[in-house]
Protein backbone atom coordinates (compact mmCIF):
# COMPACT_ATOMS: atom_id res chain seq x y z
CA UNK A 1 0.00 0.00 0.00
CA UNK A 2 1.22 3.52 -0.80
CA UNK A 3 2.43 5.56 2.17
CA UNK A 4 3.30 9.19 2.63
CA UNK A 5 6.71 9.65 4.25
CA UNK A 6 8.07 12.31 6.60
CA UNK A 7 10.34 13.31 3.75
CA UNK A 8 7.40 13.83 1.34
CA UNK A 9 5.65 15.98 3.89
CA UNK A 10 8.82 17.95 4.58
CA UNK A 11 9.20 18.60 0.83
CA UNK A 12 5.53 19.63 0.69
CA UNK A 13 6.14 22.15 3.47
CA UNK A 14 9.15 23.51 1.68
CA UNK A 15 7.14 23.90 -1.53
CA UNK A 16 4.41 25.63 0.48
CA UNK A 17 6.97 28.05 1.88
CA UNK A 18 8.08 28.90 -1.66
CA UNK A 19 4.47 29.46 -2.74
CA UNK A 20 3.70 31.70 0.20
CA UNK A 21 6.92 33.71 0.04
CA UNK A 22 6.60 34.25 -3.73
CA UNK A 23 3.03 35.50 -3.28
CA UNK A 24 3.68 37.75 -0.30
CA UNK A 25 2.46 40.92 -1.97
CA UNK A 26 -0.12 39.26 -4.24
CA UNK A 27 -1.90 37.57 -1.33
CA UNK A 28 -1.85 40.85 0.59
CA UNK A 29 -3.29 42.64 -2.42
CA UNK A 30 -6.11 40.09 -2.53
CA UNK A 31 -6.75 40.63 1.22
CA UNK A 32 -6.78 44.36 0.59
CA UNK A 33 -9.83 44.05 -1.68
CA UNK A 34 -12.17 43.41 1.23
CA UNK A 35 -9.93 42.76 4.26
CA UNK A 36 -7.08 44.64 5.86
CA UNK A 37 -4.38 43.67 3.38
CA UNK A 38 -2.08 41.83 5.77
CA UNK A 39 -2.67 38.20 4.79
CA UNK A 40 0.30 37.81 2.43
CA UNK A 41 2.76 39.54 4.71
CA UNK A 42 1.56 37.75 7.83
CA UNK A 43 1.84 34.34 6.25
CA UNK A 44 5.14 35.03 4.45
CA UNK A 45 6.75 36.26 7.68
CA UNK A 46 6.13 32.86 9.23
CA UNK A 47 7.04 30.79 6.20
CA UNK A 48 10.33 32.64 5.72
CA UNK A 49 11.33 31.34 9.13
CA UNK A 50 10.08 27.86 8.21
CA UNK A 51 12.02 27.93 4.91
CA UNK A 52 15.18 28.81 6.81
CA UNK A 53 14.72 26.51 9.83
CA UNK A 54 13.17 23.46 8.16
CA UNK A 55 16.46 21.76 7.17
CA UNK A 56 17.85 22.11 10.70
CA UNK A 57 14.96 21.26 12.99
CA UNK A 58 14.79 17.91 14.75
CA UNK A 59 12.53 15.49 12.85
CA UNK A 60 12.24 12.31 14.91
CA UNK A 61 8.73 11.88 13.52
CA UNK A 62 6.04 13.68 11.52
CA UNK A 63 4.17 14.82 14.64
CA UNK A 64 7.28 16.35 16.21
CA UNK A 65 8.12 18.19 13.01
CA UNK A 66 4.59 19.58 12.64
CA UNK A 67 4.45 20.65 16.29
CA UNK A 68 7.66 22.59 15.80
CA UNK A 69 6.20 24.22 12.68
CA UNK A 70 3.08 25.07 14.66
CA UNK A 71 5.21 26.91 17.21
CA UNK A 72 6.97 28.87 14.46
CA UNK A 73 3.68 29.88 12.86
CA UNK A 74 2.10 30.88 16.19
CA UNK A 75 5.13 32.95 17.03
CA UNK A 76 5.60 34.74 13.74
CA UNK A 77 2.24 34.99 12.00
CA UNK A 78 -0.08 37.86 13.03
CA UNK A 79 -3.80 38.47 12.43
CA UNK A 80 -6.27 35.61 12.23
CA UNK A 81 -3.81 33.54 10.21
CA UNK A 82 -1.53 33.01 13.22
CA UNK A 83 -4.04 31.05 15.29
CA UNK A 84 -5.63 29.44 12.22
CA UNK A 85 -2.53 28.06 10.55
CA UNK A 86 -0.83 27.45 13.90
CA UNK A 87 -3.83 25.42 14.99
CA UNK A 88 -3.84 23.55 11.69
CA UNK A 89 -0.26 22.42 12.19
CA UNK A 90 -0.78 21.62 15.86
CA UNK A 91 -3.87 19.51 15.23
CA UNK A 92 -2.14 17.74 12.37
CA UNK A 93 0.75 16.98 14.69
CA UNK A 94 -1.26 15.08 17.30
CA UNK A 95 -2.36 11.97 15.27
CA UNK A 96 1.03 11.81 13.51
CA UNK A 97 3.05 11.74 16.73
CA UNK A 98 5.67 9.01 16.65
CA UNK A 99 5.07 8.16 12.99
CA UNK A 100 7.50 8.56 10.08
CA UNK A 101 5.15 7.16 7.44
CA UNK A 102 1.39 7.61 7.02
CA UNK A 103 -1.08 5.50 5.13
CA UNK A 104 -3.57 7.53 3.06
CA UNK A 105 -6.16 6.76 5.75
CA UNK A 106 -3.85 8.16 8.42
CA UNK A 107 -3.02 11.16 6.24
CA UNK A 108 -6.71 11.87 5.65
CA UNK A 109 -7.35 11.59 9.40
CA UNK A 110 -4.50 14.01 10.08
CA UNK A 111 -5.90 16.59 7.65
CA UNK A 112 -9.38 16.00 9.03
CA UNK A 113 -8.11 16.70 12.54
CA UNK A 114 -6.48 19.92 11.36
CA UNK A 115 -9.70 21.03 9.67
CA UNK A 116 -11.74 20.27 12.80
CA UNK A 117 -9.24 22.23 14.86
CA UNK A 118 -9.47 25.25 12.59
CA UNK A 119 -13.28 25.10 12.71
CA UNK A 120 -13.24 24.93 16.48
CA UNK A 121 -10.67 27.69 16.74
CA UNK A 122 -12.36 30.30 14.56
CA UNK A 123 -15.97 29.17 14.63
CA UNK A 124 -16.25 29.27 10.84
CA UNK A 125 -18.46 26.89 8.90
CA UNK A 126 -18.57 25.77 5.29
CA UNK A 127 -19.88 28.75 3.31
CA UNK A 128 -18.46 31.47 5.54
CA UNK A 129 -16.00 32.28 2.75
CA UNK A 130 -12.80 31.26 4.51
CA UNK A 131 -10.05 28.81 3.62
CA UNK A 132 -12.27 26.15 5.16
CA UNK A 133 -14.37 26.31 1.96
CA UNK A 134 -11.31 24.76 0.28
CA UNK A 135 -10.06 22.62 3.16
CA UNK A 136 -13.33 20.91 4.09
CA UNK A 137 -14.03 19.45 0.60
CA UNK A 138 -10.35 18.53 0.25
CA UNK A 139 -10.51 16.68 3.54
CA UNK A 140 -13.72 14.88 2.47
CA UNK A 141 -12.16 13.90 -0.84
CA UNK A 142 -9.13 12.48 0.98
CA UNK A 143 -11.34 10.34 3.21
CA UNK A 144 -13.25 9.13 0.16
CA UNK A 145 -10.08 8.07 -1.62
CA UNK A 146 -8.70 6.44 1.54
CA UNK A 147 -11.92 4.45 1.92
CA UNK A 148 -11.63 3.30 -1.71
CA UNK A 149 -8.19 1.83 -0.95
CA UNK A 150 -6.55 3.57 -3.91
CA UNK A 151 -2.77 3.50 -4.40
CA UNK A 152 -2.73 6.32 -6.98
CA UNK A 153 -1.56 9.23 -4.83
CA UNK A 154 -1.03 11.39 -7.92
CA UNK A 155 -4.71 11.14 -8.79
CA UNK A 156 -5.63 11.93 -5.20
CA UNK A 157 -3.44 15.07 -5.21
CA UNK A 158 -4.85 16.18 -8.60
CA UNK A 159 -8.41 15.77 -7.25
CA UNK A 160 -7.60 17.82 -4.17
CA UNK A 161 -6.00 20.60 -6.22
CA UNK A 162 -9.04 20.70 -8.47
CA UNK A 163 -11.52 20.89 -5.61
CA UNK A 164 -9.66 23.75 -3.95
CA UNK A 165 -9.33 25.53 -7.28
CA UNK A 166 -13.09 25.27 -7.82
CA UNK A 167 -13.77 26.72 -4.37
CA UNK A 168 -12.22 30.03 -5.42
CA UNK A 169 -14.88 30.70 -8.04
CA UNK A 170 -17.70 29.00 -6.18
CA UNK A 171 -17.28 31.26 -3.14
CA UNK A 172 -16.51 34.46 -5.02
CA UNK A 173 -20.11 35.69 -4.76
CA UNK A 174 -20.44 34.94 -1.03
CA UNK A 175 -20.24 37.49 1.77
CA UNK A 176 -17.44 36.88 4.28
CA UNK A 177 -18.60 36.11 7.82
CA UNK A 178 -15.27 35.72 9.57
CA UNK A 179 -12.01 37.64 9.82
CA UNK A 180 -11.51 41.27 9.00
CA UNK A 181 -13.20 40.90 5.61
CA UNK A 182 -16.48 40.35 7.48
CA UNK A 183 -16.37 43.97 8.62
CA UNK A 184 -17.14 45.32 5.18
CA UNK A 185 -20.20 43.11 4.85
CA UNK A 186 -21.65 43.16 1.35
CA UNK A 187 -18.52 44.82 0.01
CA UNK A 188 -16.73 41.46 0.32
CA UNK A 189 -19.00 39.86 -2.28
CA UNK A 190 -17.39 39.64 -5.76
CA UNK A 191 -13.86 39.41 -4.36
CA UNK A 192 -12.08 36.07 -4.04
CA UNK A 193 -11.13 34.96 -0.52
CA UNK A 194 -7.35 35.12 -0.20
CA UNK A 195 -7.25 32.12 2.13
CA UNK A 196 -8.98 29.91 -0.45
CA UNK A 197 -6.69 31.19 -3.19
CA UNK A 198 -3.70 30.34 -1.00
CA UNK A 199 -4.84 26.76 -0.37
CA UNK A 200 -5.61 26.22 -4.07
CA UNK A 201 -2.26 27.67 -5.09
CA UNK A 202 -0.35 25.51 -2.60
CA UNK A 203 -2.06 22.40 -3.94
CA UNK A 204 -1.41 23.42 -7.56
CA UNK A 205 2.26 23.95 -6.68
CA UNK A 206 2.37 20.55 -4.94
CA UNK A 207 1.09 18.99 -8.19
CA UNK A 208 3.89 20.63 -10.13
CA UNK A 209 6.55 19.67 -7.53
CA UNK A 210 5.37 16.06 -7.64
CA UNK A 211 5.13 15.86 -11.44
CA UNK A 212 1.33 15.74 -11.37
CA UNK A 213 -0.27 17.47 -14.32
CA UNK A 214 -2.85 20.06 -13.26
CA UNK A 215 -3.68 23.45 -14.81
CA UNK A 216 -5.69 25.66 -12.46
CA UNK A 217 -8.88 27.34 -13.64
CA UNK A 218 -9.41 30.29 -11.26
CA UNK A 219 -7.68 33.40 -12.55
CA UNK A 220 -6.06 34.16 -9.18
CA UNK A 221 -4.67 30.64 -8.81
CA UNK A 222 -3.30 30.75 -12.34
CA UNK A 223 -1.56 33.99 -11.47
CA UNK A 224 -0.25 32.80 -8.11
CA UNK A 225 0.98 29.33 -8.99
CA UNK A 226 4.58 29.15 -10.16
Amino acid sequence: MATISLNTIEKGIDTTADTVIRNESYFSDLDGLAGDGDFGTSLATGFKVIKKDLPEIDKPDIGAMLLKLSMIVSKHVGGSSGPIWGTGFMKAALPSKGKTDLSLTEFAAMIGNAVDGIMARGGAQLGDKTLLDALIPVSEKLKEHAASGTDDLSAVLRDCAEIADKAVDETRKLVAHRGRASQVGERSADTPDPGIVAIATILADWCKANGVDYAPNAAEVQKASA
Binding site: V77, S80, P83, T87, M90, G122, G179
Partner: protein
Protein backbone atom coordinates in the same frame (compact mmCIF):
# COMPACT_ATOMS: atom_id res chain seq x y z
CA UNK B 1 -3.35 63.83 13.55
CA UNK B 2 -3.97 65.48 16.94
CA UNK B 3 -2.01 62.88 18.88
CA UNK B 4 1.25 62.45 20.74
CA UNK B 5 2.95 59.81 18.60
CA UNK B 6 6.42 59.15 17.27
CA UNK B 7 6.51 56.41 14.64
CA UNK B 8 3.04 54.79 14.64
CA UNK B 9 4.58 51.30 14.84
CA UNK B 10 6.40 52.35 18.03
CA UNK B 11 3.26 53.62 19.74
CA UNK B 12 2.46 50.47 21.71
CA UNK B 13 6.02 49.54 22.78
CA UNK B 14 6.70 53.16 23.72
CA UNK B 15 3.64 53.63 25.89
CA UNK B 16 4.37 50.28 27.51
CA UNK B 17 7.95 51.37 28.16
CA UNK B 18 6.45 54.46 29.79
CA UNK B 19 4.21 52.31 31.99
CA UNK B 20 7.21 50.23 33.06
CA UNK B 21 9.36 53.31 33.64
CA UNK B 22 6.63 54.83 35.81
CA UNK B 23 6.27 51.69 37.94
CA UNK B 24 9.75 50.30 38.50
CA UNK B 25 8.91 48.77 41.88
CA UNK B 26 5.64 47.18 40.86
CA UNK B 27 6.16 45.92 37.34
CA UNK B 28 8.60 44.29 35.00
CA UNK B 29 8.08 43.47 31.37
CA UNK B 30 9.29 41.83 28.24
CA UNK B 31 8.64 44.23 25.41
CA UNK B 32 9.53 41.60 22.78
CA UNK B 33 6.16 40.08 23.68
CA UNK B 34 4.49 43.35 24.68
CA UNK B 35 4.09 41.77 28.08
CA UNK B 36 3.98 43.23 31.58
CA UNK B 37 3.91 41.33 34.86
CA UNK B 38 4.00 41.88 38.57
CA UNK B 39 7.61 41.88 39.68
CA UNK B 40 6.77 39.66 42.65
CA UNK B 41 4.77 37.07 40.69
CA UNK B 42 4.29 34.19 40.01
CA UNK B 43 4.35 32.47 43.39
CA UNK B 44 3.64 28.78 43.79
CA UNK B 45 0.55 28.91 45.95
CA UNK B 46 -1.44 31.57 44.12
CA UNK B 47 -3.50 31.36 40.95
CA UNK B 48 -2.20 33.88 38.39
CA UNK B 49 -4.73 36.07 36.62
CA UNK B 50 -3.73 37.24 33.17
CA UNK B 51 -5.30 39.07 30.28
CA UNK B 52 -4.33 40.45 26.91
CA UNK B 53 -6.06 42.14 24.06
CA UNK B 54 -5.59 44.92 21.55
CA UNK B 55 -4.03 48.22 22.61
CA UNK B 56 -5.92 51.50 22.74
CA UNK B 57 -8.08 50.54 25.74
CA UNK B 58 -5.75 51.72 28.48
CA UNK B 59 -5.75 51.30 31.47
CA UNK B 60 -7.01 47.90 30.29
CA UNK B 61 -4.97 45.69 30.07
CA UNK B 62 -1.29 46.12 30.98
CA UNK B 63 -2.08 49.02 33.28
CA UNK B 64 -4.42 46.79 35.27
CA UNK B 65 -1.52 44.66 36.50
CA UNK B 66 -0.84 44.83 40.23
CA UNK B 67 -1.62 43.29 43.61
CA UNK B 68 -5.26 42.24 43.80
CA UNK B 69 -5.73 42.65 40.04
CA UNK B 70 -3.86 41.05 37.14
CA UNK B 71 -0.58 39.22 37.60
CA UNK B 72 0.35 39.84 33.99
CA UNK B 73 -0.94 41.05 30.66
CA UNK B 74 0.12 41.43 27.07
CA UNK B 75 -1.04 43.79 24.39
CA UNK B 76 -1.54 43.48 20.68
CA UNK B 77 -1.22 46.33 18.22
CA UNK B 78 -3.90 49.03 18.52
CA UNK B 79 -7.31 47.33 18.28
CA UNK B 80 -5.81 43.96 17.19
CA UNK B 81 -5.40 40.78 19.18
CA UNK B 82 -1.96 40.02 20.62
CA UNK B 83 -0.01 37.41 18.65
CA UNK B 84 -0.25 33.84 19.91
CA UNK B 85 3.36 33.78 21.07
CA UNK B 86 2.81 36.85 23.26
CA UNK B 87 -0.16 35.10 24.86
CA UNK B 88 1.84 31.91 25.23
CA UNK B 89 4.84 33.65 26.79
CA UNK B 90 2.57 35.54 29.18
CA UNK B 91 0.98 32.31 30.37
CA UNK B 92 4.42 30.75 30.74
CA UNK B 93 5.81 33.73 32.65
CA UNK B 94 2.98 33.57 35.17
CA UNK B 95 2.61 29.78 35.33
CA UNK B 96 2.31 28.38 38.86
CA UNK B 97 1.35 25.01 40.28
CA UNK B 98 -1.91 26.68 41.40
CA UNK B 99 -2.65 27.52 37.77
CA UNK B 100 -3.24 30.45 35.46
CA UNK B 101 -6.62 31.94 34.61
CA UNK B 102 -6.80 33.90 31.37
CA UNK B 103 -9.62 36.42 31.23
CA UNK B 104 -10.43 36.93 27.57
CA UNK B 105 -12.66 39.67 26.22
CA UNK B 106 -15.04 38.04 23.80
CA UNK B 107 -13.68 39.02 20.38
CA UNK B 108 -12.85 36.48 17.72
CA UNK B 109 -9.22 37.59 17.38
CA UNK B 110 -8.57 37.49 21.11
CA UNK B 111 -10.32 34.17 21.50
CA UNK B 112 -8.37 32.52 18.72
CA UNK B 113 -5.04 33.82 19.98
CA UNK B 114 -5.61 32.80 23.59
CA UNK B 115 -7.24 29.52 22.63
CA UNK B 116 -4.15 28.55 20.69
CA UNK B 117 -1.78 29.77 23.38
CA UNK B 118 -3.68 27.94 26.10
CA UNK B 119 -3.54 24.70 24.11
CA UNK B 120 0.18 25.13 23.46
CA UNK B 121 0.75 25.72 27.17
CA UNK B 122 -1.46 22.79 28.18
CA UNK B 123 0.50 20.60 25.78
CA UNK B 124 3.50 21.51 27.95
CA UNK B 125 1.60 20.56 31.11
CA UNK B 126 1.07 24.12 32.27
CA UNK B 127 -2.11 24.39 34.33
CA UNK B 128 -4.15 27.07 32.60
CA UNK B 129 -7.81 27.83 31.88
CA UNK B 130 -9.55 30.64 30.11
CA UNK B 131 -12.76 32.52 30.68
CA UNK B 132 -14.62 34.68 28.14
CA UNK B 133 -16.10 37.98 29.24
CA UNK B 134 -19.16 39.28 27.38
CA UNK B 135 -20.87 42.10 29.25
CA UNK B 136 -21.90 44.38 26.36
CA UNK B 137 -25.68 44.39 25.99
CA UNK B 138 -25.65 46.54 22.86
CA UNK B 139 -25.67 43.80 20.26
CA UNK B 140 -26.04 40.06 20.43
CA UNK B 141 -23.52 39.54 17.66
CA UNK B 142 -21.54 42.04 15.70
CA UNK B 143 -18.58 42.68 13.47
CA UNK B 144 -15.37 41.37 15.07
CA UNK B 145 -17.28 39.25 17.55
CA UNK B 146 -18.65 35.88 18.29
CA UNK B 147 -21.57 36.64 20.58
CA UNK B 148 -21.66 39.61 22.91
CA UNK B 149 -18.54 41.70 23.27
CA UNK B 150 -16.41 42.08 26.38
CA UNK B 151 -16.05 45.71 27.40
CA UNK B 152 -15.72 47.72 30.64
CA UNK B 153 -17.36 45.00 32.76
CA UNK B 154 -13.99 43.38 32.31
CA UNK B 155 -12.78 45.53 35.22
CA UNK B 156 -15.08 43.79 37.68
CA UNK B 157 -14.08 40.34 36.53
CA UNK B 158 -10.40 41.24 37.00
CA UNK B 159 -11.05 42.86 40.37
CA UNK B 160 -13.05 39.98 41.82
CA UNK B 161 -10.79 37.26 40.43
CA UNK B 162 -7.71 39.21 41.53
CA UNK B 163 -9.03 39.47 45.08
CA UNK B 164 -10.11 35.82 45.17
CA UNK B 165 -6.73 34.64 43.91
CA UNK B 166 -5.01 36.83 46.50
CA UNK B 167 -7.13 35.06 49.13
CA UNK B 168 -5.73 31.71 48.02
CA UNK B 169 -8.73 30.40 46.13
CA UNK B 170 -8.15 27.50 43.70
CA UNK B 171 -8.24 27.83 39.92
CA UNK B 172 -11.68 26.25 39.81
CA UNK B 173 -12.97 28.57 42.52
CA UNK B 174 -11.57 31.66 40.81
CA UNK B 175 -13.14 30.55 37.53
CA UNK B 176 -16.47 30.20 39.27
CA UNK B 177 -16.11 33.76 40.51
CA UNK B 178 -15.30 34.99 37.00
CA UNK B 179 -18.45 33.30 35.82
CA UNK B 180 -20.54 34.78 38.61
CA UNK B 181 -19.33 38.29 37.84
CA UNK B 182 -19.80 37.84 34.12
CA UNK B 183 -23.33 36.53 34.65
CA UNK B 184 -24.19 39.56 36.75
CA UNK B 185 -22.51 42.43 34.92
CA UNK B 186 -23.89 44.45 32.00
CA UNK B 187 -22.53 47.40 30.02
CA UNK B 188 -23.60 49.73 27.25
CA UNK B 189 -21.66 52.63 25.74
CA UNK B 190 -22.17 55.63 23.50
CA UNK B 191 -19.72 57.46 21.25
CA UNK B 192 -19.90 61.15 20.41
CA UNK B 193 -16.79 61.13 18.23
CA UNK B 194 -14.63 58.56 16.49
CA UNK B 195 -10.95 57.99 17.27
CA UNK B 196 -7.79 57.75 15.20
CA UNK B 197 -5.56 54.65 15.44
CA UNK B 198 -2.00 56.00 15.01
CA UNK B 199 -1.12 53.56 12.22
CA UNK B 200 -4.29 54.39 10.31
CA UNK B 201 -4.04 58.15 10.71
CA UNK B 202 -7.73 58.73 9.97
CA UNK B 203 -10.94 58.25 12.01
CA UNK B 204 -12.26 54.68 12.15
CA UNK B 205 -15.78 55.85 11.37
CA UNK B 206 -17.57 58.99 10.23
CA UNK B 207 -20.07 60.69 12.47
CA UNK B 208 -21.86 64.00 11.96
CA UNK B 209 -21.54 66.94 14.35
CA UNK B 210 -24.95 66.33 15.89
CA UNK B 211 -24.84 62.52 15.94
CA UNK B 212 -23.93 59.83 18.44
CA UNK B 213 -23.50 56.07 18.10
CA UNK B 214 -25.59 54.36 20.79
CA UNK B 215 -24.23 50.97 21.82
CA UNK B 216 -20.84 51.53 20.19
CA UNK B 217 -18.12 48.90 20.59
CA UNK B 218 -14.71 49.82 21.98
CA UNK B 219 -13.19 49.53 18.52
CA UNK B 220 -15.85 51.77 17.05
CA UNK B 221 -18.07 48.87 15.95
CA UNK B 222 -21.63 49.93 15.17
CA UNK B 223 -24.10 49.65 18.03
CA UNK B 224 -27.86 49.78 18.26
CA UNK B 225 -28.49 53.00 16.42
CA UNK B 226 -27.02 56.16 15.04
CA UNK B 227 -29.05 58.92 16.72
CA UNK B 228 -29.11 62.69 17.20
CA UNK B 229 -27.20 63.82 20.30
CA UNK B 230 -29.68 64.56 23.08
CA UNK B 231 -29.00 65.87 26.56
CA UNK B 232 -26.87 64.11 29.17
CA UNK B 233 -29.83 62.88 31.21
CA UNK B 234 -31.57 61.30 28.23
CA UNK B 235 -28.39 59.62 27.08
CA UNK B 236 -27.76 58.30 30.58
CA UNK B 237 -31.27 56.92 30.74
CA UNK B 238 -30.90 55.15 27.40
CA UNK B 239 -27.68 53.46 28.50
CA UNK B 240 -28.88 52.75 32.01
CA UNK B 241 -32.20 51.22 30.99
CA UNK B 242 -30.51 48.99 28.42
CA UNK B 243 -28.18 47.76 31.15
CA UNK B 244 -30.69 47.50 33.96
CA UNK B 245 -33.39 45.75 31.90
CA UNK B 246 -31.04 43.17 30.48
CA UNK B 247 -30.24 41.10 33.55
CA UNK B 248 -32.66 42.29 34.96
CA UNK B 249 -31.68 44.17 38.08
CA UNK B 250 -34.42 44.14 40.70
CA UNK B 251 -35.74 46.39 43.44
CA UNK B 252 -33.65 45.80 46.54
CA UNK B 253 -30.49 44.71 44.74
CA UNK B 254 -27.14 46.03 45.83
CA UNK B 255 -25.02 47.02 42.83
CA UNK B 256 -21.67 48.41 41.76
CA UNK B 257 -22.11 51.27 39.29
CA UNK B 258 -19.45 52.42 36.84
CA UNK B 259 -19.39 55.39 34.51
CA UNK B 260 -16.44 54.78 32.23
CA UNK B 261 -14.93 57.42 29.94
CA UNK B 262 -13.92 56.31 26.46
CA UNK B 263 -10.80 58.50 26.38
CA UNK B 264 -11.77 61.93 25.11
CA UNK B 265 -14.46 62.83 27.62
CA UNK B 266 -13.28 64.89 30.61
CA UNK B 267 -13.98 64.04 34.28
CA UNK B 268 -16.70 66.66 34.84
CA UNK B 269 -18.90 65.22 32.10
CA UNK B 270 -18.58 61.71 33.54
CA UNK B 271 -19.86 63.02 36.86
CA UNK B 272 -22.84 64.65 35.11
CA UNK B 273 -23.69 61.16 33.83
CA UNK B 274 -23.05 59.58 37.23
CA UNK B 275 -25.35 62.11 38.87
CA UNK B 276 -28.23 60.98 36.66
CA UNK B 277 -27.36 57.27 36.79
CA UNK B 278 -27.38 57.37 40.60
CA UNK B 279 -30.88 58.84 40.51
CA UNK B 280 -32.03 56.13 38.10
CA UNK B 281 -30.67 53.52 40.52
CA UNK B 282 -32.69 55.05 43.28
CA UNK B 283 -35.84 55.02 41.14
CA UNK B 284 -35.39 51.29 40.63
CA UNK B 285 -34.69 50.64 44.28
CA UNK B 286 -31.07 49.72 43.61
CA UNK B 287 -28.52 50.50 46.31
CA UNK B 288 -25.12 51.58 45.00
CA UNK B 289 -22.70 49.77 47.27
CA UNK B 290 -19.64 50.95 45.37
CA UNK B 291 -19.12 53.31 42.46
CA UNK B 292 -16.49 53.95 39.82
CA UNK B 293 -16.20 57.11 37.73
CA UNK B 294 -13.24 57.49 35.41
CA UNK B 295 -11.38 55.76 32.63
CA UNK B 296 -11.35 51.96 32.90
CA UNK B 297 -11.66 50.80 29.32
CA UNK B 298 -11.05 53.41 26.65
CA UNK B 299 -11.14 53.59 22.90
CA UNK B 300 -8.15 55.82 22.24
CA UNK B 301 -9.33 59.46 22.25
CA UNK B 302 -12.98 58.70 21.50
CA UNK B 303 -15.40 61.10 23.21
CA UNK B 304 -18.03 58.96 24.86
CA UNK B 305 -18.85 56.91 27.89
CA UNK B 306 -20.27 53.61 29.00
CA UNK B 307 -22.36 52.56 31.98
CA UNK B 308 -21.64 49.25 33.69
CA UNK B 309 -23.66 47.75 36.49
CA UNK B 310 -22.85 44.65 38.53
CA UNK B 311 -25.38 42.92 40.73
CA UNK B 312 -23.69 42.14 44.03
CA UNK B 313 -23.87 39.48 46.65
CA UNK B 314 -21.91 39.46 49.90
CA UNK B 315 -19.06 37.59 48.26
CA UNK B 316 -18.65 39.92 45.32
CA UNK B 317 -18.95 42.95 47.53
CA UNK B 318 -16.11 41.64 49.67
CA UNK B 319 -13.96 41.14 46.59
CA UNK B 320 -14.64 44.65 45.32
CA UNK B 321 -13.78 46.08 48.73
CA UNK B 322 -10.49 44.19 48.92
CA UNK B 323 -7.34 46.28 48.53
CA UNK B 324 -5.75 46.47 45.08
CA UNK B 325 -3.10 48.48 43.32
CA UNK B 326 -2.26 49.03 39.67
CA UNK B 327 -0.09 51.08 37.36
CA UNK B 328 -2.95 53.60 37.30
CA UNK B 329 -2.82 55.64 40.47
CA UNK B 330 -3.35 59.19 41.68
CA UNK B 331 -0.65 59.76 44.29
Amino acid sequence: MKKFVNKPEDFVPEFMAGVLAANPDLLEGDLEFQMVKRKDRPVDNKVSIVQGSGSGHEPAHVMAVGPGMLDGACQGPVFAAPPVDACYETIKALATPAGVLVLVNNYQGDRMAWDTAVELAQAEDIKVEQFWINDDVAVKDSLYTVGRRGVAGNFFVMKACGAAAEEGKSLEEVMAIAEKVNNNVRTMGVALTSCIPPAKGTPIFDIADDEMEVGVGIHGEPGRERAKITNADDITKTLFDAVADDLPFNDGDRVALMVNGLGGTPPAELYVLYNKAAKLCEERGLTIARNYVGEYCTSLEMAGASITMLKLDADLEKYLDAPAETATRIF
